[in-house]
Symmetry: C2
Subunit: 289 residues, 2 copies
């Protein structure tokens, strides 16, 4: 495995790869790997010749009051973990490689960056879109691998890549979960044992909602209410939002039809967890009064 810290070095190695006509899969991450990251890498190894993984905790996607400083980091552990996955290139740029002095350029994906999580994290998706555009230009991959856990990030980056005509395919990999259903996240390590025991309620509530929609429930507000009730009843989690939106446009749904994305963000103590499900419904359900 090549461990690379500069763009020049990265490009030199990838130039050789490209000359051989090899297909490049790219997994951008903020490190502190869990099974979710590894599943992206495995998918990339399966579908491409070369898997490039970047580890960079991007300061531009953290708000001033957010957990940039506390975000878990352990590059030695990460390096050990992904050697086993036969990752070909690990790219670990420093802050001054990614954002040199006098950095001025930002990418804004309007509307869809300002809903759901974006409503509570102003500037977050601008930071995400900007760093991923930069990484796409550094790596020039054939396929970009993203995790479904970050549902809004997937929509923002798909839109950004399509709008700016990046010559890259995007593959979305299902959310990796613990045995009890909790979505894997680097932030889970910060949960107390009590919080950790309660956190699976998020996915339980989402699955319960999916079941009700599939069974014919047609009221968006009833579905959202059910989820909120389940979370507050069975945990100490403080709900930031529960939303029911179109999975492609992130527009709030009035009728439960199409690809329905139910997404939520809930605080357990200081730790903010997100999760989501997508439910494809061909015919709209009737609202039961």
């Amino acid at each position: 495995m090549h461990i690379v810290k500069t763009i020049k070095n990265l490009r030199q190695i990838l130039h050789q790869v490209r000359r051989k006509g090899q297909k490049i899969g790219f997994v951008p991450t903020m490190g502190y790997f869990h099974e979710g990251h590894l599943s992206l890498m495995r998918q990339a190894k399966k579908e491409c010749d070369i898997c490039v993984v970047s580890v960079y905790v991007n300061p531009k996607q953290f708000g001033p009051k957010e957990d940039l400083g506390r975000y878990p980091r352990d590059i030695k552990r990460d390096t050990m973990m992904i050697k086993k996955e036969n990752v070909d290139i690990l790219f670990i740029p420093s802050d001054n490689v990614v954002y040199p002095n006098c950095y001025l350029t930002y990418i804004d994906v309007e509307k869809i960056s300002n809903t759901l999580c974006g409503q509570y994290r102003p500037g977050h998706f601008k930071g995400v879109a900007t760093v991923v555009a930069k990484l796409l230009n550094m790596v020039q991959p054939d396929v970009l691998y993203l995790g479904q856990k970050d549902a809004q990030q997937v929509v923002v980056l798909k839109t950004m890549a399509a709008d700016l005509n990046f010559p890259v395919g995007i593959r979305v990999v299902p959310t990796a979960r613990e045995k009890d259903g909790l979505a894997m996240s680097s932030r889970n390590i910060r949960l107390s044992s009590q919080e950790r025991a309660q956190a699976p309620v998020l996915y339980k509530a989402l699955k319960d909602a999916a079941r009700h929609i599939k069974a014919g429930e047609g009221s968006v507000s009833k579905i959202i209410g059910r989820i909120q009730k389940t979370i507050t009843q069975y945990s100490s989690g403080k709900i930031q939002y529960v939303a029911c939106v179109d999975a492609d446009t992130l527009e709030p749904l009035k009728i439960l039809k199409g690809n329905i994305l139910i997404a939520l963000a809930v605080f357990f103590g200081k730790t903010r967890l997100i999760d989501n499900v997508i439910i494809p419904i061909k015919k709209s359900n009737k609202v039961q009064n």
Copy 2:
């Protein structure tokens, strides 16, 4: 010469070019060619194997009160002109190819987009940066050719390309001028014969300023005052701005030192003309009181 209207077709042709290891030079334009455009194409032909020219009047870089509708267009004339230059690919996308429905993504190069012309054309350089980033991803050239006449555009696009790590070199080609010194521009055709006769005063005033700086003049305000006086004295031109800034950062200069960019925008009737000179000064001139 290939005349191409879709991104798919463009990519198919360029894929073959790239497989042969040929170097691609790219000249993005809004058409209605003059000698300035042709000099960019000649430079590209000299330095690259393949010259791609795009013609697209980008609506996103025109303000609501600007001259999008009146901007001169003549694709037949353009096509004839560049066949003689041995251009390899002419890319003429339509609006719905460049900005399909639900387009959401914009690139902002902060600070340097909001000074000089940007002060009077809010959103202009956001439109320019966005469309050029898109075209760079469509064409994936080795070298991008830009004209020095649009001095601020050069700085904005150089910064955008560097900040977003586009794998492209940038070559800036000197401003092409009429025999009497007027900077060539597609908009010159809209000048009345009287305005056309007066318009060379812009370059005369800039050259005069350059002479005085080289001769030791150290006062920025005196230099700007001289230019303003020359223009108002010898023409009916209405000055929008005359500015003296650092050629790389566009920051206003207090001391005349480094690469000095003197840039101006002047209205002749409804037609807005721009021009500039760059004066490299190693030692700062002393202000003569």
